[in-house]
C-alpha cells in the first residue's frame, strides 16, 4: 500500500529538479502566508463578498490585471531561464527536456495567460466608462469569463509541480503531441487549460460586442465612439470568429489522446495538417486580437497627451475594420514551406502584406495627431513613442516574412523569433503598458511615480533592442528556434550572449515597474479630480476610482470627445447632479456561481488530465447543476435607492 502510494506520488508530483523543489516550497509557503494573512485579518468574508462574487466590471478588470502581471512574471522567469541557458554554447544549466518544457510554457503563458487577460483588463476597466454605461451587457457572464480564465490558467500552471509541464511548443503540433511521442499528462494540461480559458474568451468577445452595440450613452453614435471602443469591437469580432477554431483543434487533439481517435495521428488515416490549419485559423487572428486594442490605446493616449483631436478618425475606424477582416485571410503564412503550391503561397503572402497598409495609415495618423498639438512627455506618451517605433520595424520584418521567398529562408529561425517579439512586446506589451499608465489613476485613484517609471522604461526599452536585434542577426546566421544549445564553433556565441544581457535588462525594467507600483501605492500622487490627464473621453468625467454605479446620471453625448467638449462648454457631471433628481439605479447582483461553476470546470479538467474519468464526470455534473441553477434564476438585479446615490455622490464631493 505504502509503496503504491509512494510510486503514485513520484509520478504525480514532479520530482528530481532542485528548481521544482524550490518552487514547491515557495508555493506552499506563499499559500500558507496568504491563508494566514486572510485569517488573521479576518478577510475571508471580504474576499468572498467584494471580489470572488463580484460582477462589477471595474473589479473584474483589476483581477484580470493582477493575473496578467503575475503571469508576465512567470513567463518572464521562463524567458530568463532560456536566455541563461543560451548565453553560452554547450551549457548544462537546463537539459533538453527541461528547456523544451520552458519554451512551451513561456509561449503559451505569454499569449494566452498574459496578453489576453491584460487586454481584457483594459476592456473591462475602460469600455463601460467610455461608453457612459453602468456595466457591461452581461455582468454575470463577465464574471464567468474571468473565472474560466483564472482556473484555466491555474490548471495550466499546476503542471509545473504536478504531473509535468507540456513540452510540445505553444502551437503543440501533432503528431509530436500525440500519445506515442508525448505520453505524459503535460500535454493534457495544455489542452484543458487552454480549452477552459478559451471558453471564457469567447464569452468576453460576445459580451463586449453587445455592450458596445447596445449600451452606449444616448447620443453616442457609433462614429462618435472613442477609438479604444472601436478597437475593442474589432478585436471582439475577431475573437468570436477565431476562437471556435482553437476550441475544435484542442478538442480533436484531446479526443485523439483520450479516446484513441485518429484525427491527427500518423496512423489510422489521420492528418496532422488539419490541426495546423485549425490552429492557425485561430492563431493568426489571435495576434490581431491582442494588437488591435493596443492600437486603440495609442489613439486615446496620443490625442489626450497632445491635447488635440485624433487625426483622421474615419480612417482609423476603417483601418481597424480592414485589419480585422483581412486577418482571417492570412493564416497560411505560418506554413509557406509545408508543401503549398506557389499560387496558394502567393495569395496568402500578398494578403499578409496588405495588412501593412492600414497599419501604416494608423502610424501616419498618430504622428499627425501630435503635429500642431502640445505633446506632454509623460509615461503613457513615452510608451506610445516606443511602441510606434518598435512596431513600425516589427511590421517591416513582418512584410519581409510575408514575401514568400524570404520566408523560405527565415521561417522557424531566430529572425522569426525577433519579428514576433518585436510585434508582441514592442507592439502589444508596450501599447498595453501605455494604457496601464494611462488608466491606472482611474482604477486606483493615484498616479504611478514618473521617475521610477522612466527608469523602468529605459531599462525595458534598451533591453528590448539589445535582446532582440541580435536575434535577427542570429536568424541570418542560420540559428533555428527551439534549440536548447548550440556548438561553440557555430559562431553564434557573441550574439547570443548580447541577447541574454538584453533579456536581463528587461528583467531589471520589470523590477523597477514593481517597485514603482509599490512605491506609488504609498506615496503616489492622489487623483482627487477624476481627470488627472485633462482627458477627452467620458471615463475622466467620473471620480477615480469610479463609484459602483459609474454614472449617477448618464450624460447625453453630442460630440466625439464627449468629456472634452463638455469641459469646453463649461459643463460637468456635477452640474447634472444638481439639475436632475437622483433616481434609483438598476444594478446586477453579485453571485458566487461563476466562481463555483468555473471551479467545477477546473475539477473536471484536472480529472481528465490524469484520465480519472470519475473526477471528470463529477466536475461536469457540477457544471451542469450550476448551469441549471442559473437557468432557474429569474431576478439577478437590484436597485440602489436614489437617496443612497445622492449620499454617495455627496461623499465624493459631487453634490
Amino acid at each position: 500500500m505504502l509503496d503504491r502510494l509512494k510510486e503514485f506520488a513520484s509520478n504525480f508530483f514532479v520530482t528530481g529538479e532542485p528548481m521544482i523543489y524550490m518552487s514547491d516550497v515557495a508555493i506552499v509557503l506563499v499559500s500558507l502566508a496568504i491563508i494566514f494573512t486572510l485569517t488573521y485579518f479576518k478577510k475571508w468574508k471580504w474576499l468572498w463578498r467584494e471580489w470572488i462574487t463580484t460582477v462589477d466590471h471595474k473589479r473584474i478588470g483589476i483581477m484580470y490585471l493582477i493575473s496578467a502581471l503575475l503571469m508576465l512574471f512567470r513567463g518572464g522567469v521562463d524567458a530568463l531561464l532560456m536566455r541563461t541557458q543560451l548565453a553560452l554554447p554547450n551549457q548544462h544549466f537546463l537539459d533538453a527536456q527541461h528547456y523544451n518544457e520552458i519554451f512551451t510554457t513561456h509561449g503559451t503563458i505569454m499569449i494566452l495567460f498574459m496578453a489576453m487577460p491584460f487586454i481584457f483588463a483594459l476592456f473591462n476597466i475602460a469600455v463601460p466608462l467610455q461608453l457612459g454605461a453602468r456595466d457591461v451587457a452581461f455582468p454575470y457572464l463577465n464574471a464567468i469569463s474571468f473565472w474560466m480564465f483564472f482556473f484555466g490558467a491555474l490548471l495550466f500552471n499546476l503542471s509545473f509541480v504536478i504531473g509535468g509541464s507540456p513540452d510540445g511548443g505553444w502551437m503543440s503540433y501533432p503528431p509530436l503531441t500525440e500519445l506515442p511521442t508525448d505520453p505524459g499528462p503535460g500535454e493534457n494540461f495544455y489542452l484543458l487549460g487552454l480549452q477552459i480559458s478559451g471558453i471564457g474568451s469567447i464569452a468576453t468577445g460576445i459580451n463586449f460586442i453587445v455592450t458596445i452595440l447596445k449600451m452606449r450613452a444616448p447620443g453616442m453614435k457609433l462614429m462618435k465612439m472613442p477609438l479604444f471602443c472601436w478597437s475593442v469591437l474589432a478585436s471582439c469580432i475577431v475573437i468570436i470568429f477565431a476562437f471556435p477554431a482553437l476550441t475544435i483543434a484542442l478538442l480533436l487533439l484531446m479526443i485523439d489522446r483520450m479516446a484513441g481517435a485518429h484525427f491527427f495521428t500518423m496512423t489510422g488515416g489521420g492528418n496532422p495538417m488539419m490541426y495546423i490549419n485549425l490552429f492557425w485559423v485561430w492563431g493568426h487572428p489571435e495576434v490581431y486580437i491582442v494588437i488591435l486594442p493596443a492600437f486603440g490605446i495609442l489613439s486615446e493616449v496620443v490625442a489626450t497627451f497632445s491635447r488635440k483631436k485624433i487625426f483622421g478618425y474615419a480612417s482609423m475606424v476603417a483601418s481597424l475594420m480592414v485589419i480585422s477582416i483581412v486577418s482571417y485571410l492570412v493564416w497560411a503564412h505560418h506554413y509557406f514551406v509545408m508543401g503549398a503550391s506557389a499560387g496558394v503561397n502567393s495569395f496568402f503572402g500578398v494578403a499578409s502584406m496588405i495588412i501593412g497598409i492600414p497599419t501604416g495609415v494608423k502610424i501616419f495618423n498618430w504622428i499627425f495627431t501630435m503635429f500642431r498639438g502640445r505633446v506632454r512627455m509623460t509615461l503613457p506618451i513615452y510608451w506610445t513613442m516606443a511602441m510606434i517605433t518598435c512596431f513600425a520595424f516589427g511590421g517591416m520584418t513582418g512584410i519581409m516574412l510575408a514575401a514568400v521567398p524570404i520566408d523560405y529562408q527565415v521561417h522557424n529561425s531566430y529572425f522569426l523569433i525577433a519579428h514576433f517579439h518585436q510585434t508582441l512586446i514592442g507592439g502589444v506589451v508596450f501599447g498595453l503598458l501605455a494604457g496601464l499608465y494611462y488608466w491606472w489613476p482611474k482604477m486606483f485613484g493615484f498616479k504611478l511615480n514618473e521617475r521610477l517609471g522612466k527608469w523602468a522604461f529605459w531599462f525595458f526599452n534598451i533591453g528590448f533592442y539589445v535582446c532582440f536585434m541580435p536575434q535577427y542577426a542570429l536568424g541570418f546566421m542560420g540559428m533555428t528556434r527551439r534549440v536548447y544549445t548550440y556548438p561553440a564553433d557555430a559562431g553564434w556565441t557573441s550574439m547570443n550572449f548580447t541577447s541574454t544581457i538584453g533579456a536581463y535588462m528587461m528583467g531589471v525594467g520589470f523590477i523597477f515597474m514593481v517597485v514603482q507600483i509599490l512605491y506609488s501605492i504609498k506615496y503616489g500622487e492622489r487623483d482627487l479630480t477624476g481627470d488627472p490627464w485633462d482627458g477627452r473621453t467620458l471615463e475622466w468625467s467620473v471620480p477615480s476610482p469610479a463609484p459602483e454605479y459609474n454614472f449617477a446620471h448618464i450624460p447625453e453625448v453630442e460630440e466625439r470627445d464627449a468629456w472634452w467638449e463638455m469641459k469646453q462648454k463649461g459643463q460637468s457631471l456635477v452640474q447634472l447632479n444638481h439639475q436632475k433628481p437622483f433616481e434609483p439605479i438598476h444594478m446586477p447582483n453579485n453571485s458566487g456561481r461563476p466562481f463555483i461553476m468555473s471551479l467545477f470546470f477546473f475539477i473536471a479538467g484536472f480529472g481528465l488530465v490524469f484520465n480519472w474519468w470519475w473526477m471528470g464526470a463529477v466536475g461536469l455534473l457540477g457544471v451542469a447543476v450550476t448551469m441549471v441553477l442559473r437557468s432557474q434564476e429569474r431576478h439577478d438585479s437590484h436597485y440602489i435607492p436614489a437617496e443612497e446615490v445622492q449620499r454617495s455622490e455627496a461623499a465624493l464631493g459631487r453634490f
Binding site: I206, M215, I240, G260, A261, F263, H586, S637
Partner: protein
Amino acid sequence: MSTAIHKSSHGSVHESPKYKGKVLPLEYTSHEGPLNILGFWIFLATDLILFGCLFATYFVLRTHVDGGVTDKELFDNITSFTAETVILLTSSFTSSLAIFAMRNNNKKRLIGWLIVTVILGLSFVGLELREFIEYYHEGYTMSRSAFLSGFFTLVGTHGCHVSLGIIWMISIITQIARYGIDAINARKTFIISLYWHFLDIVWVFIFSVVYLTGVVS
C-alpha cells in the same frame, strides 16, 4: 412585472415596450431581453463556426478509412437516419408552435408544445444513441479510422448540443408552469427556440453532407 424592470436606467436604448413607434414583442420588453437575444445570436454565430470546423475536418477525413468501413457501407440503414431527420424537423416545427402559443398568451398550449418538443428531442437522441451502439457492436469505433473519428465527433457534438437543449428546455417549462408568461419567461423561451432551430439547421447539413453524400457516393 415588466414595467418595473424597464424603468431601469442601465444605459439601454430600449426603455419602453415601444421602440421607434413599434410595439415590441414581450420578450424584448425587459431590460435584459434585447441584450440577451442579440448576445445569443452572436453566440450562435460562434457555434456555427465551431460546427464549420468539424464539418471541414470530417470532409477532409471522409475517405481516410484505413482499410476499414466506408461511409457508404456504414450508412446502410437509411430508415434510421431518415427517422432522426424527420423527428428533429418536426420538433423544430413544434417549437415554433410553442412560440406562436406564447404570442397568443396561451400558457397551456405553450407548455404543451414545449413538452412535445422535448419528447421529440429525446426520441432523436435515443435513436442516435441506438445507431451509435449498433456501430459499436459491429466494431466501428472512433479509434478504428480517421473517418470514424470524424463521424462520431461531428454527429456526437450535435447530439450533445441537443441533449443540453433538452435539459434547458425542461428547466424553462418548469418556470413557465410556475410563473406564467411574463417578459422574463418569454425571453427565455424565445432564446431556447432560437437554439433549437439552429440545431435543426446544423442537422440538415449533417443529413446532407454526412449521410446523403455517404449513401450516394
